[in-house]
Symmetry: C2
Subunit: 364 residues, 2 copies
């Protein structure tokens, strides 16, 4: 008897997380000799525990499947559900009972670190209990902080959004030349600076904005920052500074926490303020120049208007690769990218073992 | 002797302010029988006072003129320079001396209310002194707050940005369904609600997000707001609320001023906080649900990625219309749009008198 496929999404959206879903579903629907039904789980593993599923073939019939590729957000909905560390927890037999009930032979999970943790636990449990269900993880993250892969689907689109938007904001900031001004742009990536670093792509020439870029990997010193800003304003009257939301003092204190220590609202609660807003006030106090801060916010993680074609192609490819490897008997792996060459840019999909005690994709 | 043309930009950028410039320059460069040189003033009238100009024909020769259409920001740079009310101020003869020096016969100024004020003053001064220089204004504003015109170039693109981005944020907010959440989106337009109202275009069905939209034209009552949010959360667990940055109590106090009365940073200064951030704290305090605020910020006024083709076409048309009317001897007018029909959507350019004591475009 042919088995069924189920695919889910988890964690925060990216511009191409639905590309990974599209790639998986398209390839699975093509293999009519191998699979009976292709199901999507709604709101990830958490929804599946409540039998929330849909049949993906209806999407193909209505033509909506093609639209998935450029749909923002997570089409199937998401969850933030961490399976217990203890594989003897009753949730595991409960889940596998459900797999049996729905005749699931293939399980694909698209997500970040926590989702790959789910893949690891489920496949280890399957191995322990002799289940032949094949379980594979498809990575997504705008932070690009998974190890043992060249990069992750979602990052390139987010980087394109950041580069384009920082360029537009820099142009906007430069229309008046008669007064010194500072624009501070706060970019996502609390622990990883890849996305903030991508703002360098907004520069058109040496010394162009953003002149200063701050990453969370380097300890941030407010006094040094003010000195650099003062100096940069000499050459660039309309200065743009990009910062990661996660800039910190190197000893575990985020700069935004300094801000939250300060402002108290009229209920006596701390005002939650970002690092950008904190530095805006610092620049105003120390240098007295016109200053504003801009938080790029959630658009950078799911804006479909600026998604990268290459990123989308790679996400789709990772889905197809997962399906074919599951068919070939592989289980317990995360799909990763290996760069073959830079020029021409060539990439191949590979499998990374997710069953070792220290998962290769990090533990954050 | 043929006279020269000069064109300038003023005020904040829009996605199509360079479209207006393109339309003006293209049409003027075509009329080689009528005009000698076509100049751009750098940083508006303020730059012109310091002889900052460029010859626009070089842009056409390099092919860069075509690129202007989709270039964000104000290509020529901008200024915020208000001419004195008193037409006997020495700046007026000084300016007209410069017009004479550069053999300027045609002056086009692209901008908002203040720029139209410049057009009005210059053309009244010209009339008083018998100067035959022809002076026309091309409107731009994302706020859409000029009167006697159906709408203004720049608004449609900003509205498209708002609608698209609010849709993306709403989708992003909806991926988790297991917990009530409120997302407050703050949109530009301090005194005019057109842009915040455009967020309604993000709705796909009745009751869809943004469920609540608040405009500056209606007095805002925080208690009533909390009641509405509480009620809306019953049907929409991931609620999106759009507010204009200018929501106020109806008696002249902006909601963001309530916030600024409160937070004080570690220098003892008021933390400048937007209305969205203030309401975020209010919802957290009163309802205890997950809440965040997003300020769309400057991208909504100049993002070229989401510019409206219709808006661009109309901006270009307004430039060509201005040039031809100046050639026909018209002066002291603002270019306005008159809607001929809704279906099919048909528009024509008209001239609005800018020399009356109360300019038709409002006085803000």
């Amino acid at each position: 008897m042919k088995k069924n496929v189920i695919v889910g999404q988890s964690g925060g959206p990216t511009a191409v997380i639905n590309g990974s879903l599209y790639g998986t579903v398209c390839e699975a629907l093509r293999k009519t000799d191998d699979f009976e039904h292709v199901y999507g789980m709604l709101n990830g593993i958490e929804g599946f525990l409540h039998d929330k599923m849909m049949d993906m073939s209806t999407l193909a019939e209505t033509g909506e499947l093609e639209l998935l590729k450029t749909t923002p957000g997570s089409y199937l909905g998401s969850c933030r559900y961490k399976l217990p560390e203890d594989l003897s927890d009753p949730v595991f037999p409960h889940l596998f009972e459900k797999f049996k009930q729905y005749n699931i032979g293939y399980f694909f999970y698209i997500g970040g670190n926590d989702s790959m943790d789910t893949v690891s636990k489920l496949s280890r449990y399957a191995s322990q209990t002799g289940s032949d269900i094949r379980i594979l993880g498809l990575p997504k993250t705008i932070d690009n902080d998974l190890v043992e892969t060249d990069h992750t689907p979602g990052f390139a689109s987010a980087a394109k959004y950041v580069a384009s938007t920082v360029r537009e904001i820099s142009i906007d900031a430069s229309v008046y030349d008669n007064k010194k001004s500072v624009t501070i742009i706060e970019i996502m990536g609390r622990h990883a600076g890849w996305l903030a670093a991508s703002s360098v792509l907004a520069r058109k020439f040496e010394g162009d904005n953003p002149v200063l870029i701050y990453l969370p990997e380097v300890a941030f010193d407010p006094d040094e920052f003010i000195g650099k800003v003062k100096q940069a304003l000499e050459d660039t009257p309309n200065l743009v500074v990009c910062i990661s939301e996660g800039i910190n003092d190197g000893n575990g204190t985020f700069i935004c926490e300094l801000a939250s220590d300060v402002g108290v609202d009229n209920f006596g609660h701390k005002m939650l303020t970002g690092s950008g807003k904190y530095l805006e006030n610092l620049v105003k106090e120390k240098l007295g120049v016109k200053v504003r801060s801009v938080e790029l916010n959630v658009s950078q993680r799911c804006s479909s208007g600026l998604l990268s074609r290459t990123d989308l192609d790679e996400a789709i490819a990772s889905g197809a690769f997962a399906v074919n490897n599951a068919l070939a008997g592989e289980t317990g792996y995360m799909i990763a990218f290996e760069r073959i060459s830079d020029e021409p840019y060539t990439l191949k999909c590979t499998l990374k073992d997710g069953n070792c005690s220290e998962p290769p994709w990090g533990t954050n």
